[in-house]
Assembly symmetry: C2
Homo-oligomer: 243 residues x 2
DNA sequence: GAGTGGTCTAGACCACACG
DNA sequence: GTGTGGTCTAGACCACTCC
């Protein structure tokens, strides 16, 4: 049983997606939602705040909460969604081929930057394809400390669901960097690049809820298949924040 | 006079940045912060939530709020920060050359997608350079409805500070899409690309606080100079959200 | 003035971590 | 058990929008 405000947020999200609330129109006012859901106003406000963060609504003081549209996240890297979860959402026919799976260590620059001593890791190399077109090469380093063993079968499916559901690991946040770089010949061949030697590289450092570092990933995307969509709210000045 | 919780968030942020609170250590507990700042616990929690969103701390139930580090946003597209604001933050010597400034209209695909009729806009083309190296070509379409006139002088400086401080426009959020595409010959020349014809294209739709569409921007970056860094929290399943 | 969202309070109960 | 963060309440006052 999750928190009330999350249930309310999920319910409102569903109603927006189903069209019960039309983009451009206003949601019921906070006092009205308070009555509808039989909760206090602060709880309603927490729920609406979730919709704000998701870019689904915009609140206007003195007027109300307006339903936004166009907020389509077709490749939401910003939410740590993995390839397999995307696959299900986007209804595309994707395949994953495991190219390598063996014991290894974190790259030195990473373990140095993070000040880690226990760098034993499992290395996984995977080629993801959509409709028989190679899209991205994922290279993962997963710390043995948290995942001692990994099978090829798991690697062919979703690592994240295995980590979370089978191992009970609580994945929580990540820092990601996107750059464009020349690819190695190996990757050029694997992605079947012909016109260019450039790939989009997304490097991720993933952490657990207890802030321990857990996984390093380098994803090399075909540049013509890469798309990243983001919703951003403007920071205010002088130490201000998003609201 | 901004809200208490924002002042507290700004104060805590300052103390983290100054090193009063060390990465890896815990902040004072919420009851302690309540006493320190003489506010209620919910107000403290709103402040801490801002630090969470900014990736500065991580809260662990039953333990406390731990100070994170490593979260360095060297090119935070995800916060709508503009080139000029970045310039000041990053201490780099940057120049802006205005290549074009004339009346125009929004591209048809944009006005159709957004269902706009009043598409009169000012077109601005600008070349941004750092240390005499061309980095990015910005092409802006700014609706005349909100900004009837624009001078070359304003375009050479920060459009955003002009919009916000001179015109009092409240810029609030944007959707952004990042792709990699072949560039036109014109842009290839302007960015002095030699090894490749690919550029990183960041398209932005910017909106005001009242949800009215305001500006369309196409930024074409030299691929070797492009970097995007992001901090992301994991979405929970079944309609769940970030927290 | 009536209705809206923005902020804040003082208290309560719960779940989790640790000794 | 004690301390921590997570949630929720019922009320209050303010600023803004619109009539």
């Amino acid at each position: 049983m999750s928190a009330k405000y999350l249930q309310i947020a999920a319910d409102l999200t569903k109603k927006i997606e189903q069209g019960s609330y039309i983009p451009g129109s206003f949601l019921p006012s906070e006092p009205n939602l308070t009555a509808l859901y039989h909760v206090s106003r602060e709880t309603i406000r927490k729920a609406l705040n979730e919709l704000m963060l998701a870019g689904l609504i915009q609140k206007i003081k003195g007027k109300g909460s307006i339903v936004l549209s166009n907020a389509r996240f077709s490749f939401p890297i910003s939410n740590i969604t993995s390839f397999d979860e995307l696959n299900q959402q986007e209804q595309m026919h994707a395949t994953t081929r495991v190219l390598a799976l063996h014991d290894s260590h974190l790259p030195i620059n990473i373990s140095q930057e993070l000040n880690l001593t226990d760098t034993a890791a499992t290395y996984i190399g995977r080629l993801r394809s959509v409709n028989h077109e190679p899209i991205v090469i994922d290279e993962d380093y997963i710390l043995k400390k948290y995942v001692p063993q990994l099978s090829k079968q798991v690697a062919e499916n979703s690592l994240y669901s295995y980590f979370e559901q089978e191992l009970g690991l609580a994945i929580d946040y990540a820092t990601k960097a996107i750059t464009v770089e020349p690819a190695s010949n190996k990757i050029i061949n694997q992605l079947q690049l012909t016109d260019t030697n450039l790939v989009v590289v997304v490097r991720s450092l993933t952490y657990l809820k207890d802030t321990s570092f857990f996984q390093y990933t380098v994803a090399s995307h075909r540049p013509d298949k890469f798309k990243f969509i983001d919703f951003a709210r403007r920071k205010t000045e002088h130490g201000g924040f998003i609201l």
